[in-house]
Amino acid sequence: MAMDSLSVLLLYPVNAYLEQELDRRFSLLRLWEHSPPDSLFRAHGSAIRAVVGYPGHKVDAALLDALPSLEIFSSFSVGIDHVDLSECRERGIRVTNTPDVLTDDVADLAVGLAIAALRKIRQADRYVCAGLWKAKGDYTLTTRFSGKRVGIIGLGRIGLTVATRVEAFDCPVNYYQRTKKEYPNYTYYPSVVELAANSDVLVVACPLNEQTRHIVNREVIDALGPKGVLINIGRGPHVDEPELVSALVEGRLGGAGLDVFEDEPNVPEALFTLDNVVLVPHVGSGTHETRQAMADLVLGNLEAHVLKKPLLTPVV
């Protein structure tokens, strides 16, 4: 079966290199070039055998119904909470994601956000760039990052990589996950609330599913407390966002570094005037190097599928 006979639907222009290569290697359809989208499904739905998607577009029964010949869904992400896996499984559709290649970037950002939030790096930059640094005697005290207790929700690939980095800052590492494992240097807590109560920095690094939705709720935020800092590099729905916002505005939570939000790209404006938060637009894997590697994984998975070889990074 020739590669270029594989009809691939790309749901969104996530990455120029990916799009270019999909076009070059396969027979590419672009969802956004059809208005309304239904017209594409009517015209080409039954020919499409592969879909390349991303977290912003749900893969549910409705989409799958429109693509009766679909064989494989390849997500340009490691999170696959936007995919109805049981529907895919039932219909025999393979699903792949992009693990490992983005682990370093996400962990780097998590630690960078924690330092930035505690040391108010962003506020310093705004202060200087606004021409406000007039006298050398003016100073803002911020608290040391090294040695802070770091609590990680989910010691998977990303969580463990965060742990290794913060250990170099002499941060004691605590964690919570469904099953306790033997980590001689890390302290397990049997609940997120206890983890939060015993940590200064709480990092969300677990997958999003039914059990972990709003895993950071008011009780957890209160336990983290007025000197605690929340770092979310998971998914917006991991955190009860309205509770988070009011805790930050009222000073019941010390600070936050947020890469994800419940309703991206919308970010609660009440956060915009706060100096103890760092807000970034879902850039966890947003580097040239990593996006290229993610694209290569998507392409590699599709090629393996065509060649009937084992998929590189299957989820289903």
């Binding site: 370093d104 970037d105 962990a107 780097d108 950002l109 630690v111 960078g112 956000l113 330092i115 930035a116 040391r119 790096i121 962003r122 310093a124 930059d125 705004r126 202060y127 200087v128 760039c129 021409g131 640094w133 007039k134 006298a135 050398k136 005697g137 003016d138 100073y139 803002t140 005290l141 911020t142 608290t143 040391r144 990052f145 090294s146 040695g147 290794t164 980095r165 250990e167 170099a168 800052f169 991206e264 790209p265 919308n266 970010v267 915009f272 760092v278 807000l279 970034v280 637009p281 879902h282 850039v283 947003g286 580097t287 040239h288 190097e289 990593t290 996006r291």
Partner: protein
């Protein structure tokens, strides 16, 4: 001036101040020493001063020192002592102490924070969000990975060695340049600053400012670091040719910079304000309660050792500069 009977056992030791103490320091040190601001002292009192405590970074010149004929110790509260006339101290046989390793941890943390903030565009991406551009204009442009970058550290002392350890944990390949190699260090020694810049993606300055090192990071070094290279300075502004830095950044000859120090603080070249690849701070790397407590311990240890008549030696966490 008071004329009270001399009762040495009751009298707190006299410490001259080059500048007023920070409020946190004044509170902590008040009960232990008798402070006199050098500028306010008459010549009789000045003739008694054996110790000059130097809060902050205002210059301590030959003239200031000349007014204190009995001076034996100049105690700085910072790590850098380039604001003190060390030649005069040397020729008069004065001891000079600094903050030792008290600030090293916070300096190193801030340097790493700047590395991530510049390479991953954290400050610029945050501004993008707060200006509503994520909803209006779509995703923020791609940045570059921190992990795996080649990091060159200038000065592998207390601060540099901590920066090295932290960035090595980020998967960076760490090399360093210093006056001489450190055999116990696991990192690669590079004999010249220029060679270090050629072989690095990120150059971190964490060394003292001396006459030989003034403006050592010049256009040649910055061009060697290159259009994707990033300069991080938590040392002293004087280590860098600042006008050349600005033009290298403007021309794209240098890829980015994270700066906590400048040639003429608090003046910062305004051309840097709008650059997304530049993160600036107001010399705050060590302004934490933890560093303040640390330097107070160093100061009191040094002063108590001095006043007890014991010879000043390396005392636990303190460092005496070998002049």
């Amino acid at each position: 001036m008071e004329t009270t009977p001399q009762s040495h056992a009751d009298e707190k030791p006299l410490v001259f101040l080059a500048q007023p103490l920070f409020p946190e320091f004044a509170a902590a040190l008040a009960g232990r020493y008798r402070f006199v601001l050098a500028a306010d002292a008459d010549s009789a009192t000045s003739a008694e001063a054996r110790v000059l405590l130097v809060p902050g970074l205002a210059p301590v010149t030959a003239q200031h020192l000349a007014r204190l004929p009995a001076l034996q110790l100049v105690a700085g509260t910072s790590v850098g002592v380039d604001h003190v006339d060390l030649d005069t101290c040397r020729s008069r046989g004065l001891s000079v102490t600094n903050a030792g390793p008290a600030f090293a941890v916070d300096s190193a943390d801030y340097a790493v924070g700047l590395v991530v903030a510049v390479l991953r565009r954290v400050a610029a991406a945050d501004a993008y969000v707060r200006r509503g551009r994520w909803a209006a204009d779509g995703d923020y442009p791609l940045a570059t990975k921190v992990s795996g970058k080649r990091v060159g550290i200038v000065g592998l002392g207390n601060i540099g060695s901590r920066v090295a350890r932290r960035l090595a944990a980020f998967g960076c390949a760490v090399s360093y340049h210093s006056r001489s190699p450190k055999p116990s260090s696991p990192y690669t020694f590079v004999p010249t600053l220029l060679d270090l810049a050629v072989g690095s993606d990120v150059l971190v300055l964490s060394c003292a400012l001396t006459d030989e090192r003034k403006y050592m990071v010049n256009r040649e070094v910055m061009e060697a670091l290159g259009k994707d290279g990033v300069l991080i300075n938590v040392g002293r502004g004087g280590l860098v040719d600042e006008p050349e830095l600005v033009s290298c950044l403007r021309d794209g000859a240098l890829g980015g910079a994270g700066l906590d120090v400048y040639a003429n603080e608090p003046a910062v070249p305004p051309e840097l304000f709008g650059m997304d690849n530049v993160v600036l701070s107001d010399h705050r790397a060590v302004i934490t309660p933890e560093s303040m407590r640390g330097v107070l311990e160093v100061i009191t240890a040094n002063l108590d050792t001095f006043f007890s008549g014991r010879p000043l030696v390396i005392y636990r966490s303190t460092a005496m500069l070998r002049l």
